[in-house]
């Protein structure tokens, strides 16, 4: 299948032209150089993804070789080799003998040079794809901590990672995925920290992918996840380089995909849902309190509508009397059963959320006003829904957004609907059955060899320091269990709580 570079220039030129057709962005530059302009050559590149200045430099280098000392031999296979060692003024120069390889390199943004009589093509790295500047991550804003976020450019992203870990053992393995898109995917890990076998497993899974294009990391995520039929199967994603390296240091593997500002982190466990990078930058007590708050928010978002429904429709005796009277007062004259009320309002809430995402920014305010006033206030005033239902649904909806990991928030908002229907149809029995099934399901999941609920189930007491609570850094000298590779310490053994010098022990 491989088609070698021909020593006949026209064959090579015809091949490229035939493959590319008459693309607007294809640049074909024929030139002559060498003594007496006897040497013919051709240069190909894609106008839009190269740095014009660099291409011109390459060209000038070739064109200026009109005189000895560089005397072109009539023909010779090592001509290109010699050129690449000498006159080409570029950082990265490569020679290939395969035409397909040369074509692919050109599509990536490299400049291809063919010379008459040479069965080798010269590839010069002149890439300059259109990129965005490094900006603050929009989905993971933090008050304290770095403000740079990943962009669509893999190289920029790797630079952001590399500048945080100047460790030669930080590796970024390149894989190319997508038959047509030929997307670069980088497996990022720290060689002596990562769990043995993990990188190999991730690589195997990614290499197995045979798809024509990978427009975003979500494709890779869905194609390598362990639990494709689970609502919790998704992987941890991040826009933040600091979050990524934090995970690398815990022995995980980052999958950075070109053209996506969202890197994947594997293995993913439940606690990632509740961890925000900011936790590590602020006081550990505050961070722990916020983690607890997020657990509360997660539970509220998941079970508050169901719990409200079973109380209001089945188990009135469980409501304290004054509250029961208030709820009964609110329900006077409302036409719908509680379940339908809660369901309808929840769906309306999601519609508002979705509309808010899609609407042009200028009319965004309209949505909140119409949503809050029309749906909430007016529905209560008209006696269509009871005020308690509005409070419960909006509290649950709001609580979902307190979960730092947006994917988890979406999953919770999805799951609460079947749970609500189950509770509304079967009362406390349905609720308990639903939540139990959910807990059992979560406990059964594994993610690249790591149980989803670990370190809680199975229990690793030492690792609980960074789950529902965030222990102070001086108390976390060991890496978590997931990364029990050779150097499992991340701090000196004697590092304890900081103390003033006069009280320091030896």
């Amino acid at each position: 299948m491989a088609r070698p570079v021909s020593s006949d220039l026209t064959v090579n030129v015809d091949f490229i032209k035939e493959q590319m057709g008459s693309s607007l962005d294809l640049v074909h530059r024929s030139f002559v150089c060498g003594a007496d302009d006897r040497q013919q050559g051709a240069l190909f590149c894609l106008d839009t993804s190269v740095d014009g200045v660099q291409v011109a430099t390459v060209l000038r280098g070739l064109l200026e070789l009109t005189n000895p000392p560089f005397d072109f031999p009539k023909a010779g296979s090592d001509l290109i080799e010699r050129l690449s060692m000498t006159v080409i003024q570029a950082e990265e120069v490569e020679t290939v003998t395969d035409l397909d390889q040369a074509l692919n390199a050109m599509l990536k943004g490299q400049t291809v040079v063919f010379l008459e009589g040479s069965a080798t093509a010269l590839l010069v790295d002149t890439r300059k794809p259109p990129t965005r500047a490094v900006e603050e991550p929009s989905t993971e804003a933090e008050t304290r901590g770095p403000r740079d976020g990943f962009t669509e450019d893999l190289m920029i992203n790797l630079a952001l990672i590399r500048r945080r870990l100047r460790d030669p053992r930080l590796r970024a393995e390149n894989l190319v995925i997508g038959r047509r898109s030929r997307t670069d995917v980088a497996l990022v890990y720290i060689k002596d920290v990562v769990r043995p076998g993990l990188v190999e497993e991730v690589r195997r899974r990614i290499e197995r992918i045979d798809i024509d294009a990978v427009p975003g990391s979500g494709y890779i995520e869905e194609l390598i996840m362990d639990n494709p039929r689970s609502p919790f199967g998704f992987l941890n994603t991040t826009e933040r380089p600091d979050k990524l390296i934090g995970n690398l240091l815990e022995g995980r593997v980052g999958i950075v995909v070109d053209n996506t500002p969202f890197a994947l982190i594997v293995p993913t466990v439940f606690w990632h849902w509740l961890q925000a990078p900011g936790d590590y930058y602020q006081n550990y007590m505050v961070a722990t309190a916020y983690r607890m708050l997020r657990i509360f928010a997660l539970l509220t978002s998941l079970i508050a509508p169901s719990l409200y429904t079973i109380l209001a429709s089945f188990h009135h005796e469980m409501i304290p009397t004054p509250l029961a009277l208030s709820m009964a007062a609110g329900r006077e004259g409302t036409p719908l059963p509680t379940l339908i009320e809660v369901l309808a309002l929840t769906i309306m809430f999601e519609v508002m959320h979705e509309a808010g995402l899609r609407l042009p920014r200028a009319v965004g305010q309209t949505v909140s006003i119409v949503g809050a006033l029309v749906i909430g206030e007016a529905a209560v005033m008209a006696g269509l829904v009871s005020p308690a239902t509005v409070i419960v649904v909006s509290a649950a909806g709001l609580a979902a957004f307190a979960i730092p990991f947006y994917g988890a928030s979406q999953a919770i908002r999805l799951i609460r609907i079947p749970l609500l229907i189950l509770s509304g149809a079967f009362g406390v029995f349905g609720f308990v059955a639903g939540t139990t099934a959910l807990a059992m399901h979560a406990a059964s999941l594994r993610n690249l060899g790591q149980p989803f609920l670990s370190p809680l189930a199975p229990l690793h007491v030492a690792d609980l320091k960074d789950t529902a609570l965030r222990a102070p850094w001086w108390a976390m000298a060991l890496r978590p269990h997931v990364a029990r590779n050779a150097p499992s310490r991340r701090q000196r053994e004697s590092t304890g709580a900081p103390s003033p010098p006069d009280r320091r022990r030896s």
Binding site: A312, S313, F314, H316, E317, T321, A324, L325, S326, M327, A328, A329, G330, R331, E332, G333, T334, P337, T338, L339, V380, M381, G383, S386, P387, G424, A425, F426, G427
Partner: protein
């Protein structure tokens, strides 16, 4: 294959829907009973049940009160051959399903209580919707329905006022706190007799717009001592001195105010508040009958000093007050014992339980005849009172003016 699996899933899903919402009751289909009264019906052999049901619509919705209005409770009564029958008859005209789980108060009419409280206890222990922590009271000198139909207290729902009265029954120190659980427990125990708080209608409410002299005072349900039940029948009441004495005897006193006359027969009174009282009850057998030994140790706070005793020294005053307190407490206990042993012949003082626990051998032989033995039981009482709150030793305020 795939189609069959899909069809199976659809069938299972439709099964979920087919169950409907079994047992579903929305809150606006329920009548939340806040208080229930049980009386003898006019027709002999029948009982009459009165319920006080909250009307949520009277509370209004949310912030706007435009939907509110009307009475905050709906009071209805019906009779039947049995309690359950009477309640079923209520359903003939109450538009909503009666729900008992939020019931606060059970009131038993005096005439029914004098006859037999068994049906009430029976019904309220069998009904799974009723809570055993509901307050229970006897309507003294009244029918339960009269108590229920009276707008007592400051709450929207009179039943809430009554339940608050019963909850804080120990503050005046004359009535017991009686929950259905306690009464039922005593009812079924061979060595206990139930005691129940009582409510009485008294003209206590004044109008904010009319002078008291021009308007009839409104009726209010008032805590009025303790009803003493002999197994199944109301025998009589302990109130004021005997109400307090009963609490002392039962070791349930927590707080009371005693009035003490001035020393040396001078006009005026002092008030002492009983604080952290401790009561120990011991029994022993002397000859063939048990003798009870009741030891009371209490603190007192002098909360009113209305005696013209400028010359009395603090230590003398302290001695006088503590002795007067002790004498008063003992006198109240003696009066209660007279009431229980002579008049009512009912062991409401939990003597039987104490003897049963402390003298099991004696009880095994004689327990069955306790009703005959109880009036002969001797009681030795020793009371020690102290006053610790020094700041209250001062002379009366008026004694400061020369």
């Amino acid at each position: 294959m795939k189609l069959r699996r899909l069809a199976g899933a659809a069938l299972v899903a439709s099964m979920l829907l087919a169950t409907g919402c079994w047992d579903l009751r929305e809150m606006n289909q329920l009548a939340l009973v806040m208080a229930v009264g049980v009386d003898k019906a006019e027709t002999p052999g029948r009982v009459q049940v009165t319920v006080q049901i909250a009307r949520p619509s009277a509370r209004g919705k949310g912030s706007g009160s435009e939907n509110g209005g009307g009475q905050s409770v709906y009071i209805a009564t019906a009779d039947g051959d049995t309690l359950f029958g009477a309640i079923r008859n209520l359903a003939q005209f109450t538009s909503r399903r009666i729900m008992w789980a939020h019931n606060n108060v059970v009131v038993i009419g005096e005439s029914l209580a004098r006859e037999d409280i068994t049906p009430v206890i029976d019904f309220f222990t069998r009904n799974q919707e009723l809570r055993m922590r509901t307050w229970i009271a006897v309507a003294r000198g009244a029918e339960a329905k009269e108590i229920l139909a009276t707008a007592t207290g400051m709450e929207d729902i009179p039943a809430n006022s009554i339940s608050a009265l019963l909850r804080y029954a120990q503050l005046p120190g004359e009535s017991v706190r009686s929950e259905v659980a306690d009464v039922t427990h005593a009812f079924f125990a061979p060595d206990l007799n139930p005691v129940i708080a009582t409510l009485m209608l008294k003209p206590r409410g004044l109008s904010p717009t009319q002078q008291p002299s021009q308007a009839e005072p409104g009726m209010q349900a008032v805590l009025a001592g303790t009803a003493i039940i002999n197994k199944t029948r109301l025998m009589g009441y302990a109130e004021r001195e005997t109400g307090r004495g009963l609490l002392w005897l039962r070791a349930q006193m927590s707080n009371a105010v005693l009035t003490i006359p001035c020393p040396k027969g001078k006009p005026g009174t002092m008030a002492v508040e009983i604080r952290s009282p401790k009561v120990r009850r011991q029994s022993r057998i002397v000859g063939r009958t048990p003798v009870m030994q009741i030891t009371v140790a209490t603190e007192g706070w002098l909360s009113e000093q209305g005696c013209p005793t400028p010359t009395l020294r603090t230590t003398d005053l302290k001695q006088y007050v503590t002795q007067a307190m002790a004498a008063k407490i003992e006198a109240e206990m003696r009066a209660t014992l007279d009431l229980l042993q002579q008049d009512l012949k009912t062991d409401a003082a939990r003597y039987a339980r104490t003897v049963h626990m402390q003298q099991p051998d004696w009880w095994r032989l004689n327990g069955a005849h306790w009703d005959e033995i109880f009036p002969q039981v001797k009681t030795q009482i020793s009371v020690s009172a102290t006053i610790t709150k020094m700041s209250l030793y001062t002379r009366p305020m008026r004694a400061h003016t020369p």
